[in-house]
Amino acid sequence: MAVTVKIPTPLRPLSRGKDSVQVAGATAREALEGLERECPGIRARVCDEKGEMRRFVNLFLNDEEVRHLQGLDTPLKDGDILSIVPAIAGGMEAGLAESRRGRNG
């Protein structure tokens, strides 16, 4: 399945500035794996060590949050839009923004 993943501003340094990336995948999980191949390092920002969505990031399939569908196993169809929507604090901070560790490292 060819789907579009919308990249939020704080993650765009990892997508070379692109606001969306085309990937292939039969499920949301596969799409995130595809995204990781296109944008190395992005998956760790969105998913924890067990591969589940981080609690301050949500993933929407079109206009529905995947948590209320079948989570990362939610099947995709051609033309679907996946949106990564992080918690944004305001003008000062944003969850997911380049981490201190990342910057220092």
Partner: protein, 392 residues
């Protein structure tokens, strides 16, 4: 020979039935769906009128009655101050075919002197009518809506990028009480977006600067400056006096406090956030929709928190998002339209795209979930890194 007014009135009394206040009260309490019409003039009604009564001045009665009571069999009680004008009014209604009309004998004065209940309507002053005339023309606002706005109490958490434009328009709209909460002082770098402040206010507390600008625009409202940093110790005391909380804060610890207090106190939380060219707006008001913790149960941990040096926002963007918050606030006060409860508007300014995402309440949410017992407030640490400590 033409009759005298006394003769005319006694002729009308033969054709129009009268009812005493006690009889009217008995019929109303008996469950009958009476239409009560107060036919006095506007200035008389300001002293009070019967509960549930509709005010139609005598001169407009025939012109407006069909909109109020299209069925000619509707039981109607007309009253005036002492029972004379309402006799003429009732006769006019009979001429239009209304079969079940009575005039209340002794009118409003007798009703009140016999100890029956009276409601005093909230009225707009003439000055308010001029100021808010463009609101009064809209059916969704009108007099009743403007009175609601004037009586509403909205707390703005933060007098920054989001709070400034929201507060400015809410003040203009006549929201009667605006609380402005901020601990900070005006800095030159704020002026790129925080439109309540100005060059000559640099160094002034933002609450005071906001108060001055808001009252200059609308001296008829009440602005309460609250110069404080929100914490678990003061959040409940500060929030309890307000109807709606507008979150225009810029950090996670405050956002979680705002959310948790709104859940605890059952207050709508109008939420907006911005980052560079992106904005999010929604209204959290469980159980109709989710709370912030249904979406994001915990803030990001320190190692994934950004440095403030990354911060930045297009100056106009919080204007757009703050005003969407203001619109939602006004809608909540008016009870008009579909609120953003359960939906999130995502605005991408660079793409010029608005998208709406569905948000659902998590029945297992620790704060607003089914049967959840309030777990208490959390003072999260401010984990924004000191820019000086960040290696470049």
């Amino acid at each position: 020979m033409a009759p005298t007014i006394k003769e005319l009135m006694s002729q009308i009394r033969e054709r129009v039935q009268e009812a005493t206040p006690a009889e009217v009260q008995a019929r109303a309490q008996g469950g009958e769906k009476l239409v009560l019409i107060d036919v006095r003039e506007k200035d008389e009604v300001e002293q009070g009128l019967l509960p549930e009564a509709t005010h139609i001045p005598r001169g407009f009665l025939e012109l407006r009655i069909e909109a109020l009571a299209p069925d000619r069999k509707t039981p109607i009680v007309a009253y005036c101050a002492s029972g004379n004008r309402s006799l003429l009014a009732a006769e006019g209604l009979q001429r239009l075919g209304y079969e079940n009309v009575v005039s209340m004998a002794g009118g409003f004065n007798r009703w009140r002197s016999e100890g029956n209940p009276v409601v005093v309507p909230q009225r707009l002053s003439e000055a308010d009518r001029r100021r808010y005339s463009r609101h009064l023309m809209i059916p969704e606002v009108g007099d009743a809506g403007q009175i609601k706005l004037l009586q509403a109490k909205v707390l703005l958490v933060g007098a920054g990028g989001l709070g400034c434009p929201a507060a400015y328009y809410l003040a203009a709209a006549g929201v009667g009480t605006l609380g402005v909460l901020d601990f900070d002082k005006v800095d030159e770098s704020n002026l790129q977006r925080q439109i309540l402040h100005s060059v000559d206010r640099v160094g002034t507390p933002k609450t005071e600067s906001a108060r001055r600008t808001l009252l200059a625009l609308n001296p008829g409202i009440n602005v309460i400056p609250i110069e404080a940093r929100l914490s678990s110790a003061n959040v409940e005391t500060i929030f309890k006096d307000f109807d709606i909380i507008l979150d225009g804060s810029d950090n996670f610890p405050t956002r979680y406090l705002v959310n948790d207090a709104c859940v605890l106190l059952h207050k709508p939380n109008v939420h907006g956030s911005v980052y560079r060219f992106e904005g999010q707006v929604t209204v959290f008001h469980p159980p109709a929709g989710p709370c912030y913790r249904c979406l994001y149960p915990e803030p990001p941990p320190a190692e994934l928190a950004p440095s403030c040096a990354d911060a930045g926002v297009l100056g106009v963007l919080p204007g757009v998002v703050g005003l969407l918050e203001a619109v939602e606030t006004v809608k909540l006060i008016l009870g008009a339209g579909d609120s953003l409860v359960g939906r999130l508007i995502h605005y991408d300014a660079l793409k010029a795209e608005f998208r709406t995402l569905k948000l659902r309440r998590d029945p297992k949410c620790r704060y607003c979930g089914d049967g959840a017992k309030f777990p208490g407030f959390v003072d999260y640490e401010q984990f924004c890194a000191d820019p000086a400590s960040v290696a470049h």
